[in-house]
């Protein structure tokens, strides 16, 4: 039987073997954490604590700044030391962060009440997710409560849980599926209740047979289905995942809810379980610390806002020939100029890569590889040609804004042209030219 998938895509080296057998370890608490006000997509949160305040773990320290925004909670018990600018890993520039220094025991301030998900009304679950500051932990950090409050006219009939983990190197979702499957399933059931849907599918790539088996076992007495997907990058991209599982096509410029689907990531579902049934706000998450540049790759549960340097230390430190430190995996991850950069809610991995041969760039020979691999069916070579000639309107007509920035084209290009890098730039240029400037 042919496994469900999408058209296009690439097969980068998976490298999951580096860290996939490392059990989740809960790290000793850090001395300091740096919690960015921009710890989610949208408007930064507004601090509700002052320097010198004592805070407990899980206490609200900044509140949602608007509709698309999220609450922030203290990841430690201790004292607010300063609110100052630190280098932000995804904005790639210094940004405001609340710095908390640990002192005394780890005392939690929990969200009340904490009880079984089926004793909450659907609206209460959404409210709890909002209160707990839960955002998409797959990397986009979009506030989950917003996703779970679709406009009235959009009928949602399916929840898709993204267990594809198609990004090479990363194994954190895999470990959660193996080791936290029961909580995970309760999280999925909670989201289903919040959305009032009867069906949910967990999609997992076929390179994770143990996770598939474990999740099938854990979902036995529920209506949740576990489906095996072909291993191919970017299988976990929202639109491609929905297509593979349901053959529904999210319209260009549209959202999953336009085809009646909500997609959440494994980590997010688990965080929802913790928020609903344990009363934990989102203050910790799983992170894979991996790459050839790490001496002992591993999967950890760590508090949000810990310095990457500290995580790397738990991985036995970095090799001397490390050339790149990434927040995220190698296909979509972002490099940081130094390792004392704090993690955010969307940090699924820290990947250290060794020095590689500089790439030799050739002219485009129109081989067509980029068009064959593009999961959105775009023509990257053409978009790039328009872009380098500043024909931004022609670029947009040919689907620039449909680009999901997965990097498959750059990966495949035998001329080593930085296609996706150019597209990210061209999108920003186009947006600012049209006046709808976005940071």
């Amino acid at each position: 039987m042919r496994l469900p998938t999408f058209r296009g895509g690439v097969h980068p080296p998976e490298k999951k073997e580096l860290s996939q057998d490392s059990h989740l370890s809960v790290l000793p608490l850090p001395e300091r954490v740096y919690v960015f006000l921009a710890n989610h997509a949208g408007i930064p949160a507004k601090p509700v604590v002052d320097v010198g305040d004592r805070v407990k773990t899980g206490q609200l320290i900044a509140e949602s700044g608007g509709f698309i925004s999220a609450n922030l909670h203290s990841p430690l018990t201790g004292e607010v030391k300063e609110i100052a600018k630190y280098f932000h890993p995804t904005l790639s520039k210094p940004d405001d962060a609340i710095v908390i220094e640990r002192s005394g025991d780890d005392e939690w301030e929990l969200l009340q009440p904490a009880k079984s998900y089926d004793q909450f009304e659907p609206e209460e679950i959404v409210q709890r997710i909002k209160d707990a500051g839960i955002v998409g932990l797959g990397g986009a950090m979009f506030p989950t409560s917003v996703k779970l409050s679709p406009p009235k006219e959009k009928k949602i009939d399916l929840l898709v849980i993204n267990g594809a983990e198609c990004e090479p190197y990363l194994t954190i979702d895999y470990r959660y599926m193996l080791e936290r499957s029961e909580g995970l399933v309760r999280g999925v059931l909670a989201i289903m209740r919040a959305l009032k849907v009867k069906d949910a599918i967990i999609g997992i790539e076929d390179n994770k047979p143990k996770a598939i088996e474990r999740m099938k076992e854990a979902t036995k007495s529920t209506s949740i289905q576990v489906k095996t997907l072909k291993t191919k990058y970017p299988q976990g991209a929202e639109k491609q995942l929905i297509y593979a599982l349901t053959k529904r096509k999210v319209p260009s410029g549209g959202l999953p809810l336009d085809v009646g689907v909500v997609v959440d990531n494994i980590g997010t579902a688990y965080a929802i379980y913790e928020a609903v049934e344990l009363g934990h706000p989102l203050v910790e998450r799983g992170v894979t610390i991996t790459g050839e540049g790490i001496r002992k790759p591993l999967n950890v549960v760590s508090r949000i806002g810990v310095m990457a340097e500290e995580l790397i230390g738990h991985g036995g430190g970095a090799q001397e020939t490390v050339e790149r430190a990434l927040f995220g995996g190698p296909m979509m991850g972002i490099t940081v100029p130094k390792t004392d950069v704090p993690t955010v809610k969307g940090t699924s991995g820290i990947t250290l890569l060794l020095k590689s041969e500089p790439l030799e760039e050739f002219p485009c020979i129109r081989c067509g590889k980029c068009t064959f691999v593009c999961p959105m069916n775009l023509q990257p070579f053409l978009l790039n040609l328009y872009g380098t000639n500043r024909l931004y309107d022609a670029q947009v007509e040919n689907g620039l804004m449909d680009c999901i920035e997965c990097g498959s084209c750059s990966f495949a290009c035998p001329a080593n042209i930085d296609l996706v890098k150019n597209f990210k730039l061209h999108k920003r240029v186009y947006r600012s030219l049209k006046g709808g400037a976005k940071k």
């Binding site: 058209r7 980068p12 090479p168 639109k239 297509y243 999210v250 319209p251 260009s252 410029g253 549209g254 970095a318 001397e320 050339e323 790149r324 430190a325 190698p330 296909m331 979509m332 991850g333 972002i334 490099t335 940081v336 100029p337 390792t339 990947t351 890569l353 030799e360 050739f362 002219p363 485009c364 020979i365 129109r366 081989c367 067509g368 590889k369 068009t371 959105m376 069916n377 775009l378 023509q379 070579f381 328009y386 024909l391 022609a394 007509e397 040919n398 689907g399 449909d402 990097g407 750059s410 990966f411 495949a412 290009c413 035998p414 001329a415 080593n416 930085d418 996706v420 890098k421 990210k424």
Partner: protein, 316 residues
């Protein structure tokens, strides 16, 4: 630990343009070796002069005329050179071949902006230039091994002479013709290598050869004097053209649909020239003519963007 800031993706495929060109050279080597075996030293000289000359000329132009200081030879010149050599009769003299190389590399390729920017297949432009400039040498053919002047299968067909070549001879390559076109078997073998290495899509050759076969079958049914489909497929330059010239990435369309349109177009033009034109052979002209339509074909065969209801309109 000195960290670099770089753009994603941080993994890249092992592929590069030079490796693609090397694979094309490898794919052409069985036919090239057969050319030397059957046509002798002169064929070897032609192949060496063209291949080395083209690569050297390409390097010279890039480094010293276009001042690309970091340019390293990418083997694309060698591919053009070898293809041109394989498209010549052994009667062509080395300095004539060099003129063809100059036309191919400088006029057909560099003037347009170099690798990837040219509209017409450089090797074919070089060949057609030679055909017009040196019609005698370009159309004097020798039979392999015994080196007797003779007519090619396609010329025999044109002159209405009785058929003297068996299908087996044409398939294996013991017929007169351009030094690299004679053995369909070895060309297919080379193409198999390209397919194996995923360097090429099979759709252009399938559409091209298929169209030739269908048209030949129709005319053959009406009048056997037009030649049988197999005669048309194996008797002339079609295999070399369809497998290695029409599939040139730079000068062919990008999508599968485009490949099919392009292949059919090449087939139709080839057959019109062969059946009704003044030349016995039409592959070079057919591919060059279709090269000119590639931008149009590309525009008409754009893939449908995921999630878009209809084809995107383009006025670009």
């Amino acid at each position: 630990m000195k960290l670099s800031m770089m753009a994603a993706p941080h993994l890249r495929s092992e592929d590069n343009v030079r490796k693609i060109m090397l694979d094309v050279l490898i794919a052409l080597s069985p036919a090239a070796v057969w050319a030397v075996v059957s046509f002798g030293l002169k064929a070897l000289i032609l192949i060496l002069v063209c291949t080395v000359g083209a690569e050297a000329l390409d390097f010279f132009v890039m480094r010293f005329v276009r001042h690309k200081k970091t340019f390293k030879p990418d083997l694309s010149g060698s591919v053009t050179g070898l293809l041109l050599a394989l498209n010549l009769s052994v009667a062509v003299v080395w300095w004539q071949a060099l003129i063809g190389i100059f036309v191919a590399i400088v006029i057909a390729k560099s003037v347009f902006g170099g690798l990837g920017k040219n509209f017409f297949n450089p090797a074919l432009v070089g060949r057609v230039f030679l055909l017009i400039s040196f019609p005698v040498q370009m159309t004097t053919w020798f039979s392999p091994f015994d080196m007797q002047t003779t007519a090619t299968p396609m010329a025999i067909l044109k002159q209405g002479a009785p058929r003297v070549f068996s299908l087996q001879e044409m398939f294996l390559g013991t017929i007169p013709g351009s030094i690299g076109e004679v053995s369909a078997l070895l060309l297919l073998l080379g193409f198999g290598w390209l397919l194996l290495r995923r360097r090429v899509s099979p759709f252009i050759p399938i559409a091209y050869v298929g169209t030739v076969a269908i048209m030949a079958a129709i005319f053959y049914a009406a009048n056997p004097g037009f030649g049988s489909p197999l005669y048309h497929i194996f008797g002339g330059g079609l295999m070399l053209g369809a497998l290695f010239m029409a599939t040139d990435m730079v000068t062919s369309p990008m999508s599968i649909k485009g490949h099919l349109v392009f292949g059919v177009g090449c087939g139709v033009v080839t057959m019109i020239i062969r059946l009704f034109g003044g030349y016995p052979e039409g592959v070079s002209f057919a591919i060059l003519i279709m090269n000119a339509f590639v931008p149009l074909i590309d525009m008409g065969t754009k893939p449908k963007i995921f999630g878009k209801p209809k084809k995107v309109k383009s006025n670009a």
